[in-house]
Symmetry: C2
Subunit: 242 residues, 2 copies
């Protein structure tokens, strides 16, 4: 059964306080990179897998996408999306990425932000996404970086001089990791960098660009805590073409 954290009111309340919740796309430091990877959306049909509040859906419409379908497992999220980001050409749909049905060859762009590391049956989802794209269609997504998800104890080690190191273990042991994030017992799926790539390639995608996101100097100046991302990136961004 899929863990649906976001319909837990406490979790939802906690999540709603993040900058990326309050400020939309620009509250996410990795957004500029994703935006560059997305390129021109005008005239495209887009789908957002794990759409949350629908910030991407509204942005895509502002970029002259002709239609955007936002899918999320959380009723609370979709209710908020329908308040915040509804508009002509935007549809929201309740759906579970573990067992998703999508119409075939119907989208030019599939997008997903920080959702796929919750999905257990990744190859099945990648197949669904591939089939839902037109030939030449693109799939652009972010996940928590494998370095972030791997460790059994995901906490910085700080030496007496204040130098930080991230303690990697179990990197090749793929599978569930139970961590604390807003609440306890949050289950994420750890996968290697390799697995993300090979699942796409095996499905028929061509990998076009990858990014292990790190902050700009300007971002570090505005939010010094982002500097640690340079030691161990939190986000893996991938662009692939059908």
């Amino acid at each position: 059964l899929t863990q649906n954290l976001y319909d837990n009111p406490d979790f939802f309340e906690g999540y709603s306080k993040f900058e990326r919740s309050i400020c939309g796309l620009d509250g996410a430091p990795e957004w500029a990179s994703l935006r560059a990877m997305l390129g021109d959306l005008s005239g495209s049909r887009a789908v957002d897998l794990g759409c949350g509040y629908g910030w991407f859906c509204r942005w895509a419409r502002d970029q002259e996408a002709v239609s955007v379908l936002g899918i999320d497992i959380s009723e609370l999220m979709l209710a908020r999306a329908r308040e915040l980001t509804i508009g002509a050409g935007i549809d929201y749909l309740l759906g579970d990425l573990e067992s998703l049905d999508l119409p075939e060859a119907s989208f030019d762009i599939a997008y997903s932000s920080l959702a796929l590391h919750y999905v257990e049956r990744l190859p099945a989802l990648i197949e669904t996404i591939y089939d839902s794209l037109v030939p030449g269609g693109r799939f652009i997504f972010s996940v928590e970086h494998p370095l972030l998800t791997a460790p059994s104890t995901p906490e910085w080690i700080v030496d007496p001089n204040g130098n930080k190191a991230w303690p990697v273990d179990s990197y090749l042991h793929e599978g569930s990791r139970t961590t604390e994030w807003i609440t306890s017992g949050v289950v994420k799926q750890h996968r290697t960098f390799t697995t993300y790539l090979n699942v796409l390639i095996k499905q028929g995608f061509t990998v076009q660009h990858v990014e292990e996101w790190g902050p700009t100097d300007e971002q570090v100046k505005q939010r010094p805590s982002l500097a640690e991302e340079r030691h161990r990136p939190s986000f893996l961004l991938i662009s692939a073409r059908r």
Copy 2:
């Protein structure tokens, strides 16, 4: 100037004692994976960049490659290769991967084992390799894994219960790392996983398969120290097609 460790007699002597030096390809635990990625070589023209003793060159000829060119920066290495692994269709050439010239569209397979993490000017070398391959030609290589090359202090942290963790820092800070390996002052180039992929893609290669190498159960049984590779892989293997 390229650091040429292998022409230092002490380094060469130290290197010659490794299992992969004594036993050839089968002495390298990651060889089975590379071999699977190489597939059928019969009838192909191959080049090995950083050929060392020439074990790959001889193996490729045994696989009915029609010709194999082994290139290495070390005179000592090539002298040993000419003793150990010479044969009809095998040529050895002194060459520096930093400033390599190769004939255009002349090879079906380019191979490189654990050499590219010494190369500073990677995009130039990748362009040379790309141009040297025929359309459809393949480039298969291994490098030290970015997790291995990143840390400022590349030493396992062991807790009181014997649990190991690999202290990652500076992952996004690409560039030289000076470490001790056989001798002190060995300079390697740290690159992110992303950079290896994007340099290939930007050049026009299609990434076909990647592997972060880990040992089989059988290998761990025979050499228990390999188990730590599962916590932090040492080798990144990539297959790409022109």
